[in-house]
């Protein structure tokens, strides 16, 4: 079916799947670009099907970018299996949501805060830039492994990829990584606070805790209007006005 070179090229292109992200097609065009090397072989025995597959592959699509390979592989496999076009369009539609949710849970709400918080904590205790390097290397190692696995699962299972994903390691890992991310963030926050406020009087530490409490409460109550960044900038402006006015 698909050549090894085609798979390699598709994997490389998936790294830039959001290269032309828009609110209308989301990463539909990126998917079409990544699908090309895999679909080329289809032209050898069905040029008409190849033309239709190219159009389908550029239709609007959204999911977590690191799991886009699942949908891409499944779609390409379905094209080679001669599955009707309407069914392939439906497959694409039904995969986006679950892949987005799983990817967000595993990567954005799990792995990223876990590794970032661990790097912050280790930097704060004096390990210098090495934890930061470790963060980048470990994250990309996992991300590349998941991308390869995603494309392989999609290509192997085609239209049955949904069931294959459900029984894979990913849902369990996505649910399991969250508490560890929470632990790492809890550990990092006091360590980073102490590192950034080293040698400050106790009153500054008390004021820092008070600002932190106000930020959490304010952001929780007024999330849509007052993000922590806006709140911080308002407080900074207030301090500057008071201090420079007094001066």
């Amino acid at each position: 079916m698909t050549s090894r070179g085609g798979v390699r090229q598709a994997l490389l292109r998936l790294i830039a799947v959001q290269g032309v992200w828009s609110n209308e097609r989301m990463h539909g065009v990126g998917m079409a670009w990544a699908a090309q090397p895999l679909l080329e072989d289809l032209g050898g025995f069905d040029p008409q099907r190849l033309a239709e597959a190219r159009v389908r592959s550029a239709e609007p699509f959204n999911c977590h970018p690191h799991l886009a390979g699942v949908a891409l592989g499944a779609e390409v496999r379905a094209e080679f299996d001669g599955v009707p076009g309407t069914q392939i369009a439906r497959l694409r539609l039904t995969l986006g949501g679950p892949l987005g949710a799983l990817g967000d849970q595993f990567f954005w709400a799990g792995l990223v805060p876990l590794l970032a918080a661990a790097a912050l904590a280790l930097t704060a205790v004096g390990l210098g830039p090495w934890p930061v390097l470790g963060f980048v290397v470990i994250y990309n190692g996992i991300r590349i492994a998941v991308a390869r696995w995603s494309l392989r699962v999609g290509l192997e299972h085609g239209t049955a990829v949904g069931a294959a994903m459900q029984t894979s390691w990913l849902p369990g890992a996505a649910a399991g990584i969250g508490p560890w991310a929470g632990l790492a963030m809890g550990l990092a926050v006091p360590l980073v606070g102490r590192w950034l406020l080293v040698e400050r009087p106790v009153i500054d530490v008390g004021a820092t805790v008070a600002v932190a409490v106000v930020t959490v409460a304010g952001a929780w109550r007024l999330r849509a209007r007052l993000s922590p960044i806006r709140l911080a900038l308002v407080l900074v402006a207030g301090v500057l006005l008071v201090r420079l006015g007094a001066g």
């Binding site: 954005w108 980048v136 952001a219």
Partner: protein, 229 residues
């Protein structure tokens, strides 16, 4: 005091800022855009690792509250972190005088970055609409052409954001320094708000009580270690 960036350093900063900006959404999404990573590398580039680590860590606390999901509008912290680390590098005075002020500039620039992402998506949408007929016809070269255009636009956006950030940083550096109590008050505000942002992000993304429990355990252990360190 204006920064004394050589042409080579300036080119490296603009190049690194562009790469960092591209990393956020377009390519390669390898966490180079995280403030801690962008700041550390910038610190190494300008020969002041400590500034890179501390400013990167401070802005990272705010980034931990942000989920870069799909069509939502989120700040771009990467190029601003590059700019503020480059601007603050090698300044005389203690941490407590300048961390808050420079961190605040980074956050304000990250807001500009959020708008620049909205414009980028609009430009991408226009380009895709223009190529609509080619996509509908299944033209082989259309997706590649659009991809290259999108990447070039994002590179331009990232370069522009880095350049604006560097100009702002040079301007702030040229201004008279704040007195110690004012600078220290700003640092307290930014560190407090950063801690609040990270905790808010952790609580918001805690879908289970297990995660909240671990967060509490981590806070206790972290406080104990911080107390002994």
């Amino acid at each position: 005091m204006l920064p004394d960036w050589s042409a080579g350093t300036l080119a490296a900063l603009l190049g690194w800022g562009t790469l960092v900006g591209l990393d956020l959404v377009s390519v390669p999404q390898g966490m180079l855009a995280r403030p801690l990573v962008a700041g550390t590398m910038t610190g190494l580039l300008v020969g002041d690792l400590e500034t890179g680590l501390r400013l990167g860590a401070l802005i990272e606390l705010f980034a931990l509250d942000v989920m870069p999901v799909g069509a939502s509008r989120y700040p771009d912290f990467g190029p601003p972190t590059v700019a503020v680390v480059a601007g603050a590098a090698g300044l005389p005075g203690s941490w407590h005088e300048m961390l808050g002020l420079w961190g605040a500039l980074g956050l304000a620039l990250a807001g500009v970055g959020a708008w620049s992402l909205v414009w980028l998506r609009q430009l991408n949408a226009t380009a895709i609409r223009r190529a609509g007929a080619a996509l509908l016809a299944g033209e082989r070269t259309a997706p590649g052409r659009l991809q290259r255009g999108g990447l070039a636009r994002d590179a331009g956006r990232s370069l522009g954001l880095t350049a604006i950030g560097l100009v702002a940083a040079a301007g702030l550096r040229a201004m008279p320094t704040l007195d110690l109590p004012t600078g220290a008050a700003l640092t307290v505000v930014l560190v407090g708000a950063g801690i609040g942002a990270a905790l808010h992000g952790a609580i918001r993304s805690a879908a289970t009580t297990g995660r909240l429990q671990r967060l509490a355990v981590g806070l206790v252990f972290g406080a104990v270690i911080a107390g002994f360190a």
